[in-house]
């Protein structure tokens, strides 16, 4: 039949371990992105032109250069530059966090700046301090506006982790390719079953996340 390739030897265990690696990279990166990205977004909504310019340069640099190139720059370039070997898993988390911080920062900045100015002015008029305006007016509304986009970013990060195989991280897709390659000679239908199963795993992880995003968007829609 062909599907038995998934259950030969330790293949299933290996796929699940690979999935664990994928999720570890994604979860660490998402957490760092959410926390640091929110701070970055607040800074980016500043009136200080220099701060905004530096932030803009960072965001555009991260966006313009492909993630794969960033992985190579950090994994190989950094070692050449400073002579220290940093584990490929750590590099993966760093690069994905950098990307996530840039994207999340832009989402937060967009959410903050989209709040009508008259609300902030009204807050000032009734005697609220800047910190109170942030706590009671800006942040609650910003969260509503940015959560769907932030969740969307999470699913994008999970799916993009497959690139880390090129710097030696054995994640779920790479494990799949190894299984296909070792059984391709005896089982030509191996790619179909292995890729279908891995697609299913990605679906199981990403579908609930994107469903949550849609629900929140509907509930909080203007």
């Amino acid at each position: 039949m062909g599907y038995e390739v998934l259950f030969n030897g330790k293949n299933m265990e290996r796929i699940l371990v690979g999935l664990g690696v994928t999720l570890e990279i994604a979860v660490f990166s998402v957490l760092i992105s959410m926390i640091v990205g929110t701070i970055f977004g607040v800074i980016m909504s500043s009136k200080n032109r220099l701060v905004v310019l530096i932030g803009r340069i960072y965001i555009e640099t991260i966006r313009i250069i492909p993630i794969l190139v960033w992985l190579f720059i950090f994994y190989f370039g950094l070692t050449k530059l400073i002579g220290v070997h940093i584990d490929s898993f750590i590099i993966s988390v760093v690069v994905f966090s950098m990307w996530g911080v840039a994207e999340m920062g832009d989402i937060v900045r967009g959410a903050i700046t989209s709040i009508p100015k008259h609300q902030i002015e009204s807050g000032r008029a009734i005697g609220l301090r800047d910190i109170q305006i942030y706590m009671y007016i800006i942040i609650p509304q910003s969260i509503k506006r940015m959560i769907p986009s932030a969740i969307n970013l999470t699913t994008r990060m999970i799916k993009t982790t497959s690139l880390v195989a090129l710097i030696g991280v054995i994640e779920v897709l790479k494990v799949g390719q190894q299984i296909i390659e070792s059984s391709l000679f005896n089982n030509p239908s191996a790619p179909l079953w292995v890729y279908a199963f891995i697609s299913g795993l990605y679906f199981i992880i990403c579908f609930p996340v994107s469903t949550l995003s849609k629900k929140l968007e509907t509930r909080w829609g203007d």
Binding site: N8, G9, K10, N11, E13, R14, I39, F40, V42, I43, S46, K47, N48, V51, F72, Y75, F76, T79, K80, I82, G83, V84, H85, D130, I131, I133, Y134, A165, L166, I167, G168, I170, K174, Q177, Q178, I179, I180, E181, S182, S183, L184, F185, N186, P188, P191
Partner: protein, 289 residues
Amino acid sequence: MKKYKFILTLSMILVLIAGIVSGCGVNKTNKEDSKSKSSIQKIKESGKVRIGVFSDKAPFGYIDENGRPQGYDVYFGKRIAKDLLGDENAVEFVSVEAASRVEFLETNKIDILLANFTVTDERKEKVDFALPYMKVALGIASPDSNPITSIDQLKGKKLIVNKGTTAETYFMKNYPEIELLKYDENTEAFNALLDKRGDAIAHDNTLLYAWVKKHKGFSTSMDSLGQIDTIAPAVKKGDKELLDWINQEIEKLGEENFFHNAYKSTLLPFYGDIVDPESIVVEGGKVEK
């Protein structure tokens, strides 16, 4: 409000500076350390040799169903570990990709590269090659329904290659008019041929023989493009000590017919009798073309 943002910005900048400074501190000691010790001494101190191999290129370097590295290159790698460190398990096989395998060597991520690495003049500028342990030529595999028996037939068709391989270099240099479909990984490339995304695949003939044997409807329609090349271990440029050790090892292994035994253990089950071992195996680093 401005005060809070200023403090926030300042603290992030300070964290960044601290990170850079501490990073630089680490690297200095590392560089000084690496200059004072020889590569073999460092390998012996670490207790394991790091060897770069493919993990998705059967029958040369792949992972079996129990998660263990196998293949011709792996067989040789284990013997290197045994003779260098006294234990064939004192080896860490690092999974590399064709497109980035040189960088793994250049940046000390691995000590030796055994990833089915064809010797070329271009690569000699970046790495030091030891004596060869295998012969190879470029081949083309195509469907029996539409066989590619000459390069002229490829014009107007799509040829599948792997990035960073001699096949890619050969066609880009000699036949720039042929459209190439490039893939990072071997598995992707062969799947592209199965899915008819390309009309043929150019790869090492040694790999094609094994693949077509198990895939009905495909054959190695051209099995020797250009010249016969050799495959050899590679070390970091300038690492003469490790290079000399590997060369001596290959010469010594030649006396016991090691690579013919490696062929029997790892390649014969894949090739059967369709390939003459003498067309692949190089014993003792001596190439008889």
